[in-house]
C-alpha cells in the first residue's frame, strides 16, 4: 500500500466502516443505514465473540463425533462436501 499512512482520509475511514458494516449480519440486514461508530464497533465485538464461541462449540462437537466415528472413513464425503460448498 502507499506510504500515505500519516494522513488517513475521511474517505478511507468511511470505506473501512462500510466494509465492516457489510460483514456484520446485523447491520447488513438494516440495509446499510448509517449506524453510529460506537454501535458498529459494539456489533463488531459481539460478532467476533460469537464466532469465537462457535469455534469452541464446534471443537467440542467434533471431539464427540470423533470419539465414536473414524473420520478417515468419511474422508471422501468430507472432501466432496467441501468441494460443493
Amino acid at each position: 500500500m502507499s506510504g500515505r499512512r500519516s494522513r488517513i482520509s475521511e474517505e478511507e475511514i468511511k470505506e473501512l466502516i462500510s466494509k465492516l458494516q457489510f460483514l456484520l449480519p446485523e447491520t447488513r440486514r438494516q440495509g446499510g443505514s448509517r449506524a453510529s461508530a460506537a454501535k458498529l464497533l459494539q456489533e463488531t465485538c459481539n460478532y467476533i465473540e460469537r464466532l469465537h464461541r462457535d469455534v469452541d462449540d464446534l471443537s467440542d462437537r467434533l471431539t464427540e463425533l470423533m470419539a465414536t466415528m473414524d473420520i478417515s472413513s468419511a474422508q471422501a464425503e468430507i472432501v466432496r462436501s467441501l468441494l460443493r460448498s
Binding site: R5, I8, E12, I13, L16, I17, K19, L20, L23, L24, A38, L41, Q42, T44, C45, Y47, I48, E49, L51, H52, R53, D54, V55, D56, L58, S59, D60, R61, L62, T63, E64, L65, M66, A67, M69, D70, I71, S72, A74, Q75, E77, I78, R80, S81, L82, S85
Partner: protein
C-alpha cells in the same frame, strides 16, 4: 489452504489421542482451527502474524469473553475500540485505521473457518 491444514490436523488428532481426555482433544481441535486460519493468511496480516507468534510460543490461546451484559454494566461505556483491540490478535499495537482493516479480514477468516468446521461436522454425521 485452510481446509487441507485443518483436515490433516483432525486426522492426526484422531489417531494420536486415544488416551487423552475429551477436553484435551477439544483444545487441540480448537488450536488446529486457529492454526489453519493463521497459516492461510500467512504473514500478510498483522492479526495472523500475532496469532502465529502465539501458536509457536505454545502459549494458551485465550480470547477475552464478556459475560452477559447485565453482569458487567460498566462495560457499556467502555471504549469499544479497546474491547475490539482485545479480541483481534495483535490488536493492542494497532492504530484505529489499522484495527478496522485487520478486523474486517479477521472476521472474514473466522467466518470461513467456522463454515469449514460446520461442513466437516455435517459430512461426518451424515
Amino acid at each position: 489452504m485452510m481446509a487441507c491444514h485443518f483436515l490433516r490436523a483432525l486426522f492426526r488428532i484422531q489417531q494420536t489421542s486415544t488416551s487423552s481426555s475429551s477436553s484435551g482433544r477439544s483444545r487441540r481441535i480448537r488450536r488446529a482451527a486457529y492454526a489453519s486460519m493463521a497459516y492461510s493468511a500467512g504473514t500478510r496480516r498483522a492479526w495472523s502474524r500475532a496469532l502465529l507468534r502465539k501458536l509457536r510460543s505454545r502459549a494458551r490461546l485465550r480470547f477475552p469473553r464478556r459475560l452477559s451484559r447485565a453482569a458487567t454494566p460498566q462495560r457499556r461505556d467502555m471504549d469499544q475500540a479497546q474491547v475490539l483491540r482485545k479480541l483481534v490478535p495483535g490488536g493492542p499495537s494497532m492504530d484505529d485505521c489499522k484495527l478496522l482493516e485487520e478486523t474486517a479480514d479477521y472476521i472474514r477468516c473466522l467466518t470461513t473457518q467456522v463454515r469449514l468446521m460446520q461442513t466437516v461436522m455435517d459430512s461426518i454425521s451424515s
